[in-house]
Symmetry: C2
Subunit: 339 residues, 2 copies
């Protein structure tokens, strides 16, 4: 039943040559004659040969896979980023190992360890919300495993990073709200220790002060990035006489809008809402949601390219941060009715 996997030695025997020439023939080495190359490739085909990657990689020292660690795969942003990564990584001959942390520090450590055991050539990582210290990552560096950080990053770990322009995205969103006549703009955001939310908050603040509005700390709500978080804070927000809400995520914006509807508060007439991430539902909901598009696919390709460069040039040092531009997509939730 179990037909033994055929090896280069089988091919060698078949042709009366030696395994090393077969190996070289298959990898198109200049050291072997074109005629034998052809013969080898043909019989390999005929005998149904498939290279044993484990043997190859054992000999060569590094695995042909790269690992990716993300909070969760069923988020539009991350699954699109994965598509981008795959687009680069597959043609380059690597394959993708995927690990979800579900935002847990413990699972992040486990993922790193699993990847070390598998001798991945490199890792693309987006840090879990729970993670606040980073020894598990420093370990990687001296193991010779390349690391690229992506979206959720920390400056406490060296190496290339690919992020989107959180500051500017927030700045654009808030500027837009101001220019459409809003003055008291609340901000729903996430865990403040994560760079993405810290930067968006900074953009929010800067846009306000640049336009002569004094920021009010009472209007900033941490850890309110979920749909429930969006809904839960509406009462407080309205009691503070806000006329707009800038949410650091579309889910919070969704929750906010639904709660506003429940309270019969008109969006955008009484309160305008802007989100972040341009989730697929943003365009579809009523009112459609103004949001910041992050270009996840592009971020994936950039991160993957940076990783491959790092692997193949063994260039562990450079600390470059690649900032992907974002784009504000204006929809109904922020257009005042006078338009």
């Amino acid at each position: 039943m179990k037909s033994h996997n055929i090896t280069i030695s089988d091919i060698a025997k078949e042709l009366g040559i030696t395994p090393s020439t077969v190996s070289r023939a298959l990898s198109d080495s200049p050291r072997v004659n074109d005629k034998t190359k052809k013969k080898v490739q043909e019989t390999a085909q005929k005998m149904g040969y498939h290279q044993n990657v484990m043997a190859s990689m054992l000999r060569k020292g590094s695995s042909g896979s790269i690992g990716i660690i993300i909070p969760r795969i069923n988020r539009h942003f991350f699954s699109n980023a994965i598509s981008g990564i795959e687009r680069i990584v597959n043609p380059a001959g690597y394959n993708l190992l995927i690990y979800q942390t579900e935002e847990l520090y413990q699972k992040e450590v486990e993922g790193i360890q699993a990847f070390m055991k598998n001798r991945v050539a490199g890792i693309i990582l987006s840090i879990a919300a729970e993670t606040t210290h980073f020894e598990h990552l420093n370990n990687l560096q001296n193991k010779g495993i390349a690391l690229v950080q992506f979206d959720r990053v920390t400056d406490l770990v060296h190496g290339p990073k690919v992020i989107n322009d959180n500051f500017n995205g927030a700045y654009l969103a808030v500027k837009h709200l101001i220019q459409t006549g809003h003055k008291r703009i609340a901000h729903l955001t996430g865990a403040p220790h994560l760079n993405v939310y810290r930067e968006r908050l900074r953009g929010y603040m800067q846009a306000l002060t640049d336009h002569g509005i004094q920021p009010d700390q009472a209007l900033v709500f941490d850890n309110s990035i979920t749909r429930d978080g969006g809904a839960a804070n509406i009462g407080k927000i309205m009691s503070l006489n806000a006329d707009a809400i800038f949410c650091a995520g579309d889910y919070a914006a969704l929750g906010a809008i639904q709660e506003l509807k429940n309270l019969n508060i008109a969006v955008p007439e009484q309160v305008a809402v802007v989100g972040y991430a341009n989730e697929p539902f943003s365009e579809i909901m009523t009112p459609s949601l103004t949001s910041v598009e992050q270009n996840a696919f592009e971020m994936g390709t950039r991160a993957a390219q940076a990783l491959i460069d790092m692997i193949e040039n063994k260039d562990n040092a450079h600390d470059h941060t690649d900032i992907i531009p974002v784009r504000l997509i204006v929809r109904q939730s922020s257009l005042v009715s006078t338009y």
Copy 2:
């Protein structure tokens, strides 16, 4: 700089014992004394040892990874299924290789070949829309690579399958439309050679005839499963005096509803619409969309479990098809206003 990866031989040398005992100690074999086990495990820890999986797997013959091939990862259904698969597969000590076909036959073949090279222990596959012949899969069987088909399956290839109850889902949806007073029910569906659409069509037909409605072939629209497909057929559908549309996917339903809105046709009052898949936006859109929930996560866990059983029992033969129940979620798009 590049500190050489430490091996079991290093540990052995350190302790003045032999690599084989180290290996057995680390895998908790009964053949080694508890005291030495402890000593080995401690020094392994101390020296920062990480097993070289490639060497291990080369020796053991099979890799510790399982591969998954799906049309695309950024679909709610598939990314949730992956989460389910991971939930089973990681604790069992395997890791996940992921390959997207983008519905292309060629990429499906490539994926299979990449996985054969990697000597994956097994593959979970959801067939690409373009794929209509299956030699590349029959190949796997005699290579000893386990295969579980999942969602998009074909009876032309043996082995376990996990699908959702497409027939029943469609039946429930159409029955619901009939019971809410609809009589001329159109059906938007996908490529008829795919089991999922074939079965949903069958459920649609059966529900109609069971309730004394003569199916009208003119009301069935093949290859209209996209958002555009949903919108494009509305003119034709209305000219045929339909009072309801059952779509084999939520995107088609979305396109249909938006086009109906454009034409000022009231949903559900003039035309009721039901979708399939319960995409995240279905609940959010206006009107909210009645849809069939497929339980992707559960399907993933089942498929993963079936694969692991198959791998570990070497039980290649059984042809069981696991049918996961579905659930109709009734929302506004199908409730007549008289309620």
